[in-house]
């Protein structure tokens, strides 16, 4: 009987293999983990933004029924060193639990361990902390003057990073800066666009708040830690270091993780505290973040102020760009905090061949929740600043926004392209993406539609934005953890395949896409492949999922390991079939001789032989289990073009997004269905930033948007149906040609919407509107006020 013909799966819209458990409520998230004898942790947090701790009275908490232990910051400091960061910048001491000074509202000041979460919370509420309040500073430009307060000793004027230059004429170490080319560009300019723009602070808000279960087993001397993290292997490394244990003694598990969006890369105070408390008490402990805690205790994103200047000729040719960036990083440096805004500098070249660019970056401490990665992480900010400036240039010159961009594109024959910022763009065809967007959106008709609407008195506008982002992060030189990824592919005795990946997913669907790849590679059914992840006891090594890297780096590692395993399978098959290993084909569950399909063995038979190798082919070890580390030679640079159409209600100022057309080029796609989902999600967050999301602090450093009642998380009614299209420009950086797509949606959508709003309100002479597009702000413009 002939074997059934198996379809090729790479490139197909395969339904996700993760879903059956998740749609039946059978997934296991951190809060679903229970250990016998487990106790619950609650944190007492500072309710002021800046102050000296005068006293902490824990007596009432300690006396409560069910309270196991209470730790003040001083007590935690005895068992836990200050928290490390992962960037090479100077950083003030950061205690997991504050010992003497609190620097943002929400900073932990004490820890309660109790029999259940209600008791733990009651006890935390019963702790009385008195403070000597200090002045708070929430405006980074004010903080830079050292007024009204200096948050960290040794960091004068609150400068975390005083002034870092980058771009044309800057030496790689940043020490020597030659402004000649930039100055010449601006001297030659026929038109200069200048704008101060705020890329506002956002709250990531994964639907699953963070959580951790730490289980130290005294007899074994081992620690198992479950955490809602994007990178269990980094967690293991850090927990081992901070608990004084070996990495062989710590097992980190990322079970189902309910979204991350960058905010679950950082290793947090609560994870370290749970680990040391578990070790100290010899019991398992669980901490689950409330949403109200998440708003202040989980890192925020963005919050970069840009002073942008664009020099151009009147025909639209851009001569130079200046970008002075001020990043408000909040109260402390976290794992990657200081490096995020450097990505804004890195991507200042955007999709354009700009002859001279000068960027500078200053990072400032304020009394706010610290920032770190949030979907896009530095690249949406760069895209926003440059694309808004390009749009202002088009408006100034009365050019079509598409034309001014096309005039300045890096030509498709110039790749790999060395930018002014030191990046080497791997591949690109920006005109192709722009053309696709213009065709699919019917740009010329859209413009007529807008004009007709305007003629009727409606406030309708169009916006267009290009983007290019840096993805597939590594290489190792760019990450403190190393920038490779690891995979292992094992052919089991029965011919089924188990594979591990260090790219620990949290919604990306790697169990499906990676299985598609291996099923094709080995010519076996998808159902015969299992992808394992998220457990350092199962997955030997790994980095994690962030920076749109899981396919471009993790997928490449899997492909490499698969290639090695396949090569060994071919050797066993060659021995069985008395054929040369290069003459074999793997398909339809068979390994057979090319051109002679009857001369073949089932994949399962060859697998069985690999494990009972009698006789053992010369030079072979038994079994098939191969691993690979993939070290990318460069990043990938996916790109695209997003077009928006919005209407603003003349009476109320309320904006409505009418259309969003996205053309994204992420190279080769493994599963277009999953890619669409990733783009949709990114668009939703990009649109959310443009239209409704904003973390707002008052002058005392209180987060006014500290719950879903005040922070507008987008809902289904906030969006039209997104219109997705793609172009395909493979990357030469990895064997798959895949570039990564997780963050793309957050890049182009945001500036395209703001530009559309400016277009809609053009009759009022407005040139720029800072996000978000609050109706009141737009209404004031309509009423003749200023943005």
């Amino acid at each position: 009987m002939a074997a059934p013909v198996l379809p090729k799966l790479v490139g197909q819209r395969v339904k996700r293999r993760e879903d059956p458990r998740l749609i039946q409520g059978r997934g296991t998230y951190v809060d679903d983990v229970k250990i016998a004898g487990m106790q619950h942790i609650a944190f007492k947090r500072s309710d002021i933004a800046h102050g000296k701790i005068r006293s902490i009275d824990v007596s009432a908490a300690q006396a409560m029924d069910g309270v196991e232990a209470v730790f003040t910051g001083a007590q935690i400091a005895q068992i836990l060193a200050p928290m490390p960061i992962g960037t090479p910048f100077p950083s003030p001491e950061h205690r997991a639990v504050a010992t003497d000074v609190v620097r943002f509202a929400g900073e932990p000041v004490a820890v309660v361990v109790a029999s259940d979460r209600y008791v733990a919370r009651d006890a935390a509420d019963a702790i009385v902390v008195s403070y000597d309040p200090l002045p708070a500073v929430v405006d980074p430009e004010l903080a830079m003057t050292g007024q009204p307060t200096v948050i960290h000793e040794g960091f004068a004027n609150n400068l975390a990073v005083p002034l870092m230059p980058s771009g044309t004429g800057v030496s790689p170490n940043g020490k020597s800066v030659d402004d000649t080319a930039v100055d010449r560009a601006f001297a030659q300019a026929e038109v200069i666009i200048k704008q101060r723009m705020l890329n506002q602070r956002l709250v990531p808000n994964a639907m699953e708040p963070r959580g951790v279960v730490a289980h130290f087993e005294p007899g074994k001397g081992t620690m198992t830690i479950w955490s809602s993290t994007q990178n269990p292997h980094i967690l293991r490394t850090m927990i081992a270091a901070m608990t004084g244990m070996g990495q062989d003694q710590v097992r980190a598990i990322a079970p189902e993780v309910g979204g991350g969006f960058g905010a679950k890369i950082n290793i947090y105070a609560e994870e370290y505290v749970a680990a040391v408390v578990s070790k100290q008490l010899g019991i398992a402990v669980k901490w689950i973040e409330d949403r109200s805690e998440a708003f202040v205790a989980t890192t925020h994103g963005r919050d970069i102020l840009g002073y942008v200047e664009l020099a151009a000729k009147r025909d639209g040719t851009v001569l130079g760009l200046k970008m002075r960036l001020i990043a408000d990083i909040g109260a402390y440096n976290m794992l990657l905090t200081a490096s995020i805004p450097t990505l804004t500098m890195l991507m200042a070249n955007a999709t354009y061949d700009i002859p001279a660019i000068r960027t500078t970056l200053t990072e400032v401490f304020t009394n706010k929740t610290p920032t770190d990665a949030y979907r896009g992480a530095g690249r949406p900010e760069a895209t926003y600043f440059v694309e808004r400036a390009m749009d202002m240039l088009a408006r100034e010159l009365n050019m079509d926004p598409a034309d001014v961009r096309r005039k300045n594109f890096i030509a498709s024959n110039k790749f790999p392209f060395q930018t002014q910022m030191g990046a080497v763009y791997d591949s690109g065809d920006y005109a192709k993406a722009l053309d696709a967007a213009l065709v699919h959106s019917k740009w010329n008709e859209l413009k007529k539609e807008r004009d007709a609407a305007k003629a009727q008195g409606r406030l309708v506008g169009l916006g267009l934005s290009m983007y290019v982002e840096v993805c597939g992060i590594g290489p190792s030189a760019t990450l403190p953890t190393g920038g490779w990824e690891h995979a292992q592919v094992t052919v089991e005795r029965d011919g089924r395949i188990s594979a591990t990946t260090g790219a620990s997913p949290h919604g990306q669907g790697n169990e499906t896409t990676f299985a598609q790849m291996l099923a094709d590679q080995f010519g076996v059914p998808l159902e015969h492949v299992t992808i394992l992840h998220g457990d350092t006891a199962v997955v030997k090594q790994g980095i994690g999922t962030f920076g749109s890297r899981s396919q471009a780096v993790g997928g490449a590692a899997l492909h490499m390991a698969g290639t090695k395993a396949k090569s060994k399978m071919a050797k066993f098959a060659a021995a069985l079939l008395e054929a040369h290993e290069d003459d074999l084909v793997f398909e339809n569950g068979m390994i057979s001789v090319k051109g002679a399909p009857a001369r073949g063995k089932s994949f399962a038979d060859v697998s069985q032989y690999a494990y009972i190798p009698v006789p053992l082919p010369e030079g072979l070890e038994p079994g098939v289990s191969e691993e690979a580390f993939f070290e990318p030679s460069n990043n990938t640079y996916p790109f695209g073009c997003h077009i928006s159409m919005i209407e603003i209600d003349r009476e109320t100022g309320e904006p409505t997004l009418l259309r969003l057309v996205a053309v994204d080029d992420a190279g080769h796609l493994i599963n277009p269905l999953i890619v669409e989902g990733q783009i949709h999600g990114g668009l939703a967050q990009g649109i959310g930033q443009a239209m409704i999301e904003e973390a707002v602090y008052n002058s005392d450093g209180q987060l006014l948007t500290g719950s879903f009642m005040d922070y507008a998380l987008p809902r289904a009614i906030d969006f039209p149906r997104f219109e997705l299209h793609s172009t395909v420009t493979p990357t030469p950086v990895n064997p798959l040609g895949a570039k990564g797509v997780g963050e793309a949606g957050t890049l182009g959508s945001t500036p395209s919407i703001v530009s559309a709003a400016v277009d809609a309100l053009s009759e009022f002479g407005v040139k720029h509107i800072d996000m978000m597009l609050r109706p009141e702000k737009l209404w004031r413009i309509i009423q003749g006020g200023q943005a």
Partner: protein, 153 residues
């Protein structure tokens, strides 16, 4: 402690609870029905949505004692005899989930929506699920999933 007797997924469960115990914690901690999730503390996100006497409700918004005598269906009780509910199937077919955290609540809201309006328009679907947040999908595939369950895709 107060005694409660609540029919959950077709079985009467008797237990003693603190009066302040939220229904969602009763389901998760005492009955180990951990498919119902907690995503906020202000009743906005809908991750804890269950059916109470046939209508969707946020299980973080009521106390377990208030559910005395009622019939509750959670995500675990939706599939019958190994057959997925059409909403569950729709989510799978249309890639209506990514991280899966909002999914149980989203599906239960979808069940309620289709029981009230078996053939909703796209706008009605978007309005019908607006008490449920999803941070991953941008909602488009969720809308498709509900349409699929309604036999419209």
């Amino acid at each position: 402690m107060t005694p409660v007797s609540i029919n959950v997924n077709g079985k009467v469960r008797k237990a003693h609870v603190e009066p302040r115990t939220l229904l969602v914690h009763f389901l998760r901690e005492q009955l180990n029905l951990t498919g119902t999730h907690v995503g906020c503390d202000t009743s906005q996100c809908g991750a804890c949505t269950v059916l109470i006497d046939g209508r969707s409700a946020k299980a973080c918004t009521i106390f377990a004692v208030q559910a005395e005598g009622s019939e509750i269906v959670t995500i675990e009780g939706l599939a019958k005899d190994g057959q997925l509910h059409p909403l569950q199937n729709g989510f799978w077919e249309e890639h209506g989930l990514q991280c899966g955290y909002c999914t149980p609540g989203m599906i239960m809201s979808g069940v309620n929506l289709l029981s009230e309006n078996p053939s909703p328009s796209e706008k009605e679907i978007r309005e019908g699920i607006s008490g449920n947040f999803c941070r991953c999908t941008g909602y488009q595939h969720i809308v498709n999933a509900v349409q699929n369950a309604a036999g419209r895709r």
